[in-house]
């Protein structure tokens, strides 16, 4: 379980997160949405300490991630993170991308790491692309490889920062299908996305952020109901116009 308690963050003089308190239950999927600049990506990035915070605490399974003595690299191996731009390593093949954490963090030999990485690639349906380079596969496939890479060390949590925003529309579906399956398998997920269909069908809770504040934290039915706060409704109508 991830708990945010009065988390605040500044970029210089600009306050980007204001006293955010919320929690993600084990095995649940939370979708973070909100207008551009609302702090949703920043909040997602605080969980594995890619972004430092200035106030408040974040705990995972009761452990404060900023406590003294916490090995940040060890913390990160327990949290899968998927970027908007995939960030695959272009000089390594698809298989080598997925194998890298096993080899460099778990000290597996190439021989031992390869079958595990292949199994993970099969799970995301890309075993046949194992020997391809990232430049030779599509955006949707790249993102699925990135997800496979982030899951190879069996993290307890998966954070996704706009995983489909850089994709062509016809490739969004394949990534969302994979995320839906992960959610059904009980993976704890935090996903920043504008895909409201995905939010409605897959998420257990939706967080709506605006100007760095968590303005709404409830189940999807409440989020999409006509009783939702007016700022949520105006956000939804803006998103629907562009999708």
């Amino acid at each position: 379980m991830i708990e945010f308690d009065k988390v605040s963050k500044w970029f210089g003089a600009v306050k980007v997160l204001t006293s955010v308190s919320a929690s993600v239950a084990k095995g649940s999927t939370v979708v973070l949405c909100g207008p551009s600049g609302s702090g949703k990506s920043t909040l997602a990035r605080t969980v594995n300490r890619l972004e430092p915070i200035q106030e408040g605490t974040i705990t995972i399974d009761g452990h404060d991630i900023h406590a003294t003595g916490v090995d940040v690299n060890k913390l990160r191996t327990g949290i899968g993170f998927v970027f908007q731009q995939f960030n695959l390593f272009p000089h390594l093949t698809v298989l080598e991308n997925v194998m890298l954490p096993l080899q460099r963090i778990r000290s597996y030999s190439r021989k031992d790491a390869a079958p595990l990485a292949m199994e993970m690639l099969s799970r995301v349906g890309l075993a046949e692309k194992a020997k391809s380079l990232p430049a030779d596969i599509s955006g949707g496939q790249s993102q699925r490889v990135a997800i496979a890479r982030s899951l190879i060390l069996n993290p307890g949590v998966l954070i996704l920062d706009e995983p489909t925003s850089a994709l062509d529309p016809e490739m969004v579906g394949e990534v969302l299908k994979l995320l839906r399956r992960l959610s059904e398998d009980g993976m704890t997920m935090m996903c920043v996305t504008h895909e409201m269909g995905f939010a409605r069908e897959v998420s257990d809770r939706i967080w709506f952020l605006k100007k760095g504040e968590l303005r709404f934290d409830d189940e999807p039915t409440a989020f999409f109901s006509s009783d939702a706060p007016s700022e949520v409704r105006s956000f939804l109508s803006a998103v629907n116009r562009t999708h």
Binding site: N48, L50, N73, F83, Q85, H91
Partner: protein
């Protein structure tokens, strides 16, 4: 000109070898390649320090780069040749002196090229490595350097042409490389400086022109296939 080539051709290529020390073009090439190979690891260290998050390390490397770039190579050679033996108490071979001076000098320049290669990588690459929980060493050696060094291969070859030209300064401290040999030929054949230094110029030109053409070809290749199949073939 052909006469001179006929008479001194072998000397131009290998100096007085096998009756004396190896010299001429062969020594120029040996000095250049040895200098480049020795410069390379030093430059990587300087580039890593320059791009480091550790402030004092970054400042130290920046200080080194700025100091070296502010002095002429010839002065560095004078220091290494005349002053260093006095400081350490024993003489150093002139060729070694030249190589050491070139390595110190080129480390500053090549270090800057490699640092630019590191800074030029997308920020997401380091972030992805961090997010996977990779520490500094695997991030540097498995993610950053393979990409950064590949991208600056043309710059590295370019520095080789600079080193070849700089090695001619060895003639001042009697290193019998190409220029020194031709100076000697000129003192034998006092009346033909035009031909002798014409041959010298042509030799440097052919050598460096071929290298710069190779650099251009590589640059195009890398621009085209920066992220394609060529990447793995080149590194394999």
């Amino acid at each position: 000109m052909l006469e001179i080539l006929h008479e001194y051709g072998l000397m131009l290529l290998i100096g007085e070898y096998p009756h004396g020390k190896l010299g001429g073009l062969a020594l120029t090439l040996i000095i250049s390649f040895v200098s480049l190979f020795a410069t390379f690891p030093c430059s990587v260290v300087i580039a890593l320090a320059r791009t480091s998050q550790v402030t004092w390390l970054q400042k130290l490397a920046t200080g080194f780069v700025h100091s070296v770039r502010a002095i002429p190579l010839l002065m560095l050679i004078f220091w290494a040749y005349f002053a260093l033996p006095m400081l350490i108490g024993f003489p150093i071979d002139a060729t070694v002196t030249l190589v050491v001076a070139i390595v110190i000098y080129q480390t500053a320049y090549l270090g800057e090229i490699i640092a630019a290669g590191i800074n030029g990588l997308p920020k997401g690459q380091v972030e992805a490595a961090k997010a996977l929980g990779l520490g500094y060493v695997p991030t540097t050696f498995r993610v950053i350097l393979p990409q950064a060094l590949f991208n600056v291969i043309p710059g590295i070859i370019n520095q080789l042409t600079t080193i070849i030209k700089e090695s001619s300064l060895g003639s001042i401290i009697a290193v019998s490389e190409l220029s020194y040999v031709m100076l000697q030929v000129n003192s034998n054949e006092v009346t033909k400086p035009l031909q002798i230094f014409g041959i010298l110029a042509a030799t440097y030109f052919i050598l460096c022109f071929c290298l710069s053409q190779a650099t251009n070809w590589l640059e195009r290749r890398i621009a085209n296939k920066r992220t394609g199949r060529f990447f793995v073939e080149a590194l394999a």
